[in-house]
C-alpha cells in the first residue's frame, strides 16, 4: 500500500466530508456569499435589537433620574433630623445615587415681609435638580440663590440684602436667579454652612435620587427605614409611578418591534438558504447516485448550513454590537454596553434557522429519483 493510501485509510470519511464542505463553499462563491450575507444581516439586526432591548431600560432610567428625587427623608412630625443622618444615608446609598439635605425657616426681609429661606448643598442640588434654571450658581460664602418671585420682593436689581430670623440678621449677595415654576420660585437658597451659622436650625429634609430598578430603589427604602427609625422615609410616588409606566410602555413597544424585525430577518435567511440548497439538487443527485446514504447527505447539508449559520451569527453579532453602540451614541449620548449573553441566543437562533432551511428542502428532494434530477427535469 502506498504511504498516502495508508494514511488515508484511517479517516477517509471525515477528510472527504471536510473537503466536500470546503469545496462547496469555494466553488460556488457567489451563492455561498449571498447566503452568508443574508445570515450576517439577520444576525446583526437581531443582535442590535436584543442589545437595545436589554440596555434601553438602563439608558432611559438615567434620563428619568433627571426628574429629581424619588425618595424623601423627613423628621417625624416635622422635627429636625438627628446629626449624622446624612452620613448614614450616604453609607446606605453607597455611591448609587444622590442625597441632598435641605433646611427651611420662614425669615423676614428688611421691610417685614415673610419669605422662606432654605439652606442646602449647592454642588449636590445642581446635580439632583437639573431642571432648575439658574442665572448664576453661588460660589462664595454668603452668596444666595434667589427665586424669581422672591427676587421681586428682596432684591429686584440684584443688590445685596438682609434677612432676619429670631433677631439675627444675615447679609447676603444675590448671586443668581432661580426659576422652576413651582414653590422654589418664592424661596431664597443659601449654603448649608451659612444657614446653620445664622439660624442654628438643622436640616429637616433629605432628598434622595436613588438609581436603579424599582426593586433596587425599594430595597434602598427598606434599608433606610430599618437603619433610621428616627426619620420618616417616603417614596415620591409621582416620580416612581410615572417612570414605571413610561418605561414599561417603551419596552413593550420595543419588544414588539424587535420581534417583528427578527421574524423578518429569519424569513430572509430561510428563503435565501432554501434557494441555495434547492439550487444544488444536482450535487444531491450525484451523491445519491454514487451510493451515499440519505443520512450522510442530510448530515452533509445540515453541517454546511450549521457552519454557515455559526459564521454568520458571529460576524453578524460583531456588526450588531457596533450598530447598537452607534444608536446608543446618537440617541442617548452614551454607548450601549455590549451584552455577550446575547451572543448565545443569536448563535442558537441562527443555527436553528439555518438547519431548518437546509433540512426542509432535503426532505422535499428525497422523494425525487436522482435520475430525474440529473436529467434536468
Amino acid at each position: 500500500m502506498s504511504p498516502i493510501a495508508t494514511r488515508r485509510a484511517g479517516a477517509p470519511h471525515t477528510s472527504m466530508f471536510l473537503r466536500m464542505l470546503l469545496r462547496a463553499a469555494v466553488l460556488r462563491r457567489g451563492r455561498a456569499a449571498s447566503a452568508l450575507l443574508a445570515m450576517v444581516v439577520a444576525a446583526a439586526t437581531a443582535t442590535a435589537m436584543l442589545n437595545l432591548y436589554v440596555d434601553v431600560q438602563a439608558k432611559l432610567r438615567k434620563e428619568f433620574r433627571n426628574y429629581g428625587a424619588n425618595i424623601v427623608v423627613v423628621g417625624k412630625d416635622g422635627a429636625a433630623l438627628p446629626d449624622g443622618l446624612l452620613n448614614a444615608v450616604h453609607a446606605i446609598l453607597n455611591g448609587r445615587g444622590l442625597a441632598v439635605p435641605f433646611a427651611y425657616v420662614v425669615a423676614r426681609t428688611s421691610d417685614g415681609q415673610s419669605v422662606v429661606v432654605a439652606g442646602t448643598d449647592f454642588q449636590q442640588v445642581r446635580k439632583l435638580n437639573s431642571w432648575w434654571s439658574v442665572s448664576g450658581w453661588p460660589q462664595a460664602s454668603r452668596d444666595a440663590l434667589v427665586g424669581t418671585r422672591a427676587a421681586a420682593v428682596v432684591s429686584s436689581q440684584g443688590k445685596p440684602f438682609d434677612l432676619g430670623f429670631q433677631g439675627r440678621i444675615i447679609h447676603v449677595n444675590a448671586a443668581g436667579r432661580l426659576s422652576t415654576g413651582a414653590a422654589e420660585d418664592s424661596r431664597i437658597y443659601v449654603s448649608l454652612a451659612d444657614f446653620e451659622n445664622w439660624t442654628s436650625v438643622q436640616p429637616s429634609t433629605i432628598e434622595i435620587a436613588a438609581s436603579g430598578s424599582p426593586e433596587e430603589v425599594n430595597s434602598v427604602i427598606t434599608r433606610l427605614t430599618n437603619a433610621l427609625p428616627a426619620a420618616e422615609i417616603r417614596p415620591v410616588r409621582q416620580i416612581m409611578e410615572g417612570e414605571a409606566r413610561v418605561l414599561g410602555k417603551t419596552r413593550a413597544t420595543l419588544l414588539a418591534s424587535a420581534s417583528l424585525i427578527i421574524l423578518t430577518a429569519a424569513l430572509c435567511v430561510l428563503s435565501t438558504l432554501m434557494g441555495w440548497v434547492l439550487d444544488r439538487r444536482r450535487d444531491f443527485a450525484i451523491m445519491k447516485a454514487l451510493g451515499a446514504s440519505e443520512q450522510l447527505i442530510s448530515s452533509f447539508f445540515a453541517a454546511e448550513a450549521g457552519v454557515l449559520g455559526a459564521i454568520g451569527a458571529i460576524v453578524g453579532f460583531l456588526i450588531g454590537i457596533g450598530v447598537a453602540a452607534w444608536i446608543g451614541r446618537v440617541n442617548f449620548h452614551a454607548p450601549v454596553v455590549p451584552r455577550f449573553n446575547v451572543l448565545a441566543w443569536v448563535l442558537l437562533g441562527s443555527i436553528v434557522v439555518a438547519l431548518i432551511s437546509a433540512v426542509l428542502p432535503i426532505s422535499l428532494l428525497r422523494r425525487v429519483q436522482p435520475a430525474v434530477i440529473l436529467r434536468g427535469e
Binding site: 434620563e63 410615572g242 413610561v246 423578518t264 430577518a265 434557494g275 434547492l278 439550487d279 444608536i327
Partner: protein, 417 residues
Amino acid sequence: MFLRLLYESFRRQKRRKALAGVAITLGVAVATAMIAVATDVGDKISRELRSYGANLLVTPQEDTLDLQIGGVDLKPPSDGTYLKEADLPKIRGTFWHHNIVGFAPMLPVGVEVSGQKLTLLGTYFSKKLTFGKEDFTTGVRITHPWWKVQGAWPDDESQDVLVGENLATKLGLKPGNQIRIGGQPHRISGMLSSGGAEDNQIVTPLGVAQQILGRLGAVRRLYVSALTKPEDALARRDPKTMNAELFDRWYCSPYVESIAYQLQEAIPHSHAEQIRQVAQNEGTVLSRIKGLMLLVTFAALLASALAVSAAMATAIFERRGEVGLMKALGGGNTTIAALFFVEAMLLALIGGLVGFVGGAVLARQIGRSIFAAQITIDPVLLPVILALAVLVTFAGSAFAIRRAVKFDPVYALRGEG
C-alpha cells in the same frame, strides 16, 4: 404574446409566485406597522408622560410670596389674592384646548381638628363643567394619577372629605367615620395616599374649602396638565421680541410656553408658568424615545427590504432554464428583462396592497395591547408604501435578472449552472 407569457407564468408557477408574494407581503406589513407605530409613538408616550402630573401652574398675578415648606402652606389665608373659580371653564376656549388633558384648582385652608392645626385642601376630584355647549370633566383624578384612595372618591357636590393616610392613622379615623371641621360634621369617604404632603392633610371638594374659608368662588392655584411639543429655539424666545409672522407660528405651536401664554389670556389677572421639573424632562425623555423608535424603524425597513430582495433573487435564479429557452427561441435581452420586471411589479403591487392592510391591522393590535389606544394609519401612506415595495422588489430582482439574462442559454438548457 408578452401578456400571454405573463399570464401563463402566473398561472403555471403558482407555488413559486406565492412564495415571493408572501415574502413581499410580510416585508411590507412589517414596514407599514413600524412606520405607523413610529409616527404615533410620540403622541402615545407624551400621553403616558402626563402620568407625571401637571406641567403648568397658574397663580394670581399680584400674589404675595408662597410660604410653602415640604408641601405645607404657611401663608395666612387673608394674605394674597385669588383666582375666580368661574373663570376656569374658559380654559376650554383657548387655542390649544384639545391638548389640555385636565386641570385641577387648589385652595389650601388652615383648620383645627381635634386640637391640631392642619391644612385642608379644596379641589376638584372629577368635576363636571360646561363651556359653551361642551360638557367635560376634570380634576385631580386626571392631573394627579398617582393619588390612590382607599374607600371611595367623594362626590364634588357633596360635603364628604378624604383624609390623608398618615393623618388618618394618627387620628384613628377610617372611611365611613365622621370628622368635625369648623363645627360642621363631614363624612370621610376614603383615605388618600399620595406619597406627598397630602398624606397629612384633609382633601375636600372645592366648595367645602371655600365655605370654611368664607370666600366663595376663590381658588389659590390651578394645576394644568397639557400635551406639549418638546421645546426648541423658537419656544424659548420672548414673544415680545417676535414679529407678527413669527409670533403666529409660536402661538400656534403647542409649546409649554405658548400654552402658558394662552392660559394667562383666558384667565384674567393670572400668571401661568411651566413646572420645569415636569415640563423640561418630558421633552428630553420624549425625544429620546422618539429617536430610538425612528432608528428601530430604519432597521425594520432595512430588514424587510433585504427579505424581499432575497426572495426575489431566489425566485428568478431558479428560472434560468426558462430564460435559456426564451433566448434560444430568439427572445431579446430587453424583452426577457421586461417580462421579469413586469412580473416583479405585479407581485410588488399585490403583495404591497395586502401587506399594507396587514400592517395596519398589526399596528392597531400593537396600539391596543400596549397603549390601550388606537394607532390609525394614514391612507396617504398607501402610495408611498406601494412605491417603496415596487422599488425594493426591482432593486432586489435587478441583479438576479441581469445574471439570468447574461447566462449562456446552452449551459442553462443543459441544466448546468
